[in-house]
C-alpha cells in the first residue's frame, strides 16, 4: 500500500484585495461537497475566511513563541546575552537586563549561551488556532494577537500542526497573507502548488510579477486566476501568455459577487459563472495532483 500524502495548495496574491479570500472559501466549500477538504486561513494578521465558513468552533488552542525571561538572582551581568542578540531584544541597562519580546526571534542564543542559565525560555502567547467543521470541510483559522508584530512564527506553527494532525485529509487549501516578503514565504513554502489571484489592472500586474518571482524563488509550480475579468486591460493576460504561466480561470467582474461578499455569503451556488470557474480550477488541480503523485 502506498502512503497517501496530502496535496497542499497555497492561495496567494501580491496585491491585497484581489479575491484571495473569495476564492479560498468558495473553492473549499465547493470541493467539500464531494470530498473531504481542509481550509487553513494563514492570513494571520487579518484572517477573514471565518466570515464565510459556517460551523461552530470545536476547539481553540493558544499559540506561543518562546522568549527569554531574566532571572535576576542567577545573573552575574556578564553581558554575553546583550552582546549575542542581533535583534537588540536583550539589552543590558545598568544592572538590569531588559527583554523586548516583540523584537525577539526565538533563536535561543542568549538563553543557551548564558553561563549562569539566567535566561530560561518561556512561553509567550502570540495567537490562537481555532477549528471548525462543516460537513466534509475542516477549517483551521490562525489568528495573530493584536500588538504582536511577527506573523512568521505563528504561520510556521500552524503548518506544523496541520502536518501532525490532518495528514488524512488529501486536499488542503492554504489562504496566504498578501505581499511578497517573509509571511507569504513562510505560508507557501510548505505547499505543493501555488495559485496567485490577481486582477487585470496595473496594480494587479505589478504585484503579480513580484509574487511570481517570489514563488519561483521557492521553486514551486504556479497558476494564475484573474478575478474581476473585464475591468482594466489585457496586460495581465499578455504577461501570463508571454511567460507561459497557466491561467486557471477568469472570473468575470460582477457586482453581485461583491454584494454577496460584503454580506459574508458564499457565491458559488448563487452565481453560475463562478461555479463554472471553480470546476475549471478543480479539473486543473486534479490533473496537477495526478502528475505530482
Amino acid at each position: 500500500m502506498t502512503k497517501k500524502t496530502p496535496f497542499k495548495i497555497a492561495i496567494a496574491s501580491g496585491k491585497g484585495g484581489t479575491g484571495k479570500t473569495l476564492l479560498s472559501t468558495n473553492l473549499a466549500a465547493y470541493l467539500s461537497q464531494t470530498r473531504s477538504t481542509l481550509l487553513v486561513d494563514l492570513d494571520v494578521e487579518e484572517p477573514n475566511d471565518f466570515i464565510f465558513i459556517k460551523g461552530t468552533i470545536e476547539s481553540v488552542s493558544d499559540q506561543y513563541k518562546m522568549i527569554p525571561e531574566w532571572d535576576e538572582d542567577k545573573c552575574t551581568l556578564c553581558g554575553i546575552c546583550s552582546n549575542v542578540c542581533k535583534y537588540h531584544a536583550v539589552v543590558q541597562l545598568g544592572t538590569f537586563i531588559a527583554v523586548f519580546k516583540e523584537l525577539c526571534h526565538s533563536c535561543y542564543a542568549c538563553s543557551e549561551l548564558c553561563p549562569m542559565h539566567a535566561l530560561p525560555m518561556q512561553k509567550h502567547k502570540i495567537g490562537e488556532l481555532s477549528k471548525r467543521s462543516d460537513g466534509h470541510l475542516t477549517f483551521i483559522e490562525s489568528r495573530l494577537e493584536i500588538g504582536e508584530e511577527q506573523a512568521v512564527p505563528l504561520i510556521h506553527q500552524t503548518h506544523n500542526l496541520v502536518d501532525k494532525d490532518y495528514n488524512n485529509i488529501s486536499f488542503q487549501l492554504f489562504d496566504c497573507p498578501p505581499g511578497t516578503s517573509c509571511p507569504v514565504i513562510a505560508a507557501a513554502k510548505n505547499t505543493d502548488y501555488v495559485i496567485l489571484v490577481t486582477e487585470p489592472t496595473p496594480f494587479g500586474l505589478n504585484d503579480l510579477k513580484l509574487a511570481v518571482e517570489t514563488i519561483y524563488k521557492l521553486g514551486k509550480p504556479l497558476g494564475v486566476i484573474i478575478n474581476r475579468h473585464g475591468i482594466g486591460n489585457n496586460d495581465v493576460e499578455s504577461y501570463c501568455a508571454y511567460n507561459q504561466i497557466p491561467v486557471l480561470a477568469k472570473i468575470p467582474f460582477d457586482r453581485q459577487i461583491a454584494e454577496c461578499y460584503s454580506k459574508g455569503e458564499l457565491v458559488y451556488n448563487k452565481v453560475e459563472h463562478v461555479e463554472t470557474s471553480l470546476r475549471q480550477i478543480i479539473k486543473y488541480l486534479d490533473e496537477t495532483h495526478r502528475n505530482h503523485v
Binding site: G17, N48, I51, S106, I146, T201, S262
Partner: protein, 293 residues
Amino acid sequence: MYEIVVLSGKGGTGKTSIAASLAVLAGNSAVIADCDVDAANMHLLLKPDFGKTFEFYSGELASIDQELCTVCGICAEVCRFKAIPFKEDQYLISELDCEGCGYCERVCPTHAITMHERKSGHVYISKTKVGSTMVHARLDIGAENSGKLVAAVKNEAKSTAMKEDKQFIIVDGSPGIGCPVVSSLSGANYVILVTEPTLSGLHDLKRVHAVISRFRIESGCIINKFDLNLEKTVEIKRFLLESQIHHLADISYDIAFTQAMTEGKTIVETSSPLKQLIEEVWQNVKEQIIKKK
C-alpha cells in the same frame, strides 16, 4: 511638519488610489513616502523619476567556509530556523530561512561561519510628476525586515521634508497589523483609514484601529464603495462614532478609479465627480491636524 499615514487593514479597499490622489492635491507642499514596500504601487500613479538609488542593508546572513568546516553539525543543531540543511556531504545556509541570529557563528568550533550584512532592497528618492519628492523602495524578493525598510523610507522622507521645509508627509502604509504597519505609524500625526462596507472590511478596520489606538494617534475614515452594502456602511459609521474616528467621506462604488489607474492617473486628474469629494477630504484633514497643533 505633519505626517499623515493612509492605512486600511484589509487590502484592495482603495488605499493607494486615495493616498496618491492626496499626494497630487498636496502637490509640492508634501513629501510622499510609499511604505507599502512589499507591493509598492504608488509609482504607477505618481510616475517618480527614480532619481537617486541607495542599496538597503538590513540584518545579517550566515555563510560557511567549506574549507574550514569539519562537518561536526553543531551549527545545524542550534539553528532554530532549519536554515542549515545537510546536502551532499555539506552543511549549507538556506538564505530564505536564515534569520541572521548569529548563533551558529558563535558555536562553530573551527570558526568556519561568518555573518555578513544582508542586502535586502533598494530605496529610491524621486521627483514625482507633480514636482514633489517621493521616497519609495523595493524589497528584494523574499527578503525579510520589511519593517526596517519602512523605517528607512520614512526617515529619508522626514529628513527631506525638514531640508525642503515641507508642511506634510503623506505615507501609503501596508495592509495588515504587523511590523510594517507598526513601523509606518511611528511619528504619525494623523491616520486616514480606508475601508469598504464588507464584513471583512469592518473586521480588519477594527483590528488596525486597535493598533492605532495603542499609539494614541488621531484618525479619520473614508468608506469606499459605500453603496455596495448600505447596512454595513451604517454599521461602520456606528463603529466610527463609538471609536471617535472622524468620518471623512463616503465614496460610491465606481469603476472610474480603475479606469484612471489603467491610464496611470489618480482620480483627481480626471473629470470624475469624485474629484471634488477627495478635495474636500484633503481640506478637512488639513484643518483637523493644523487645528490640533
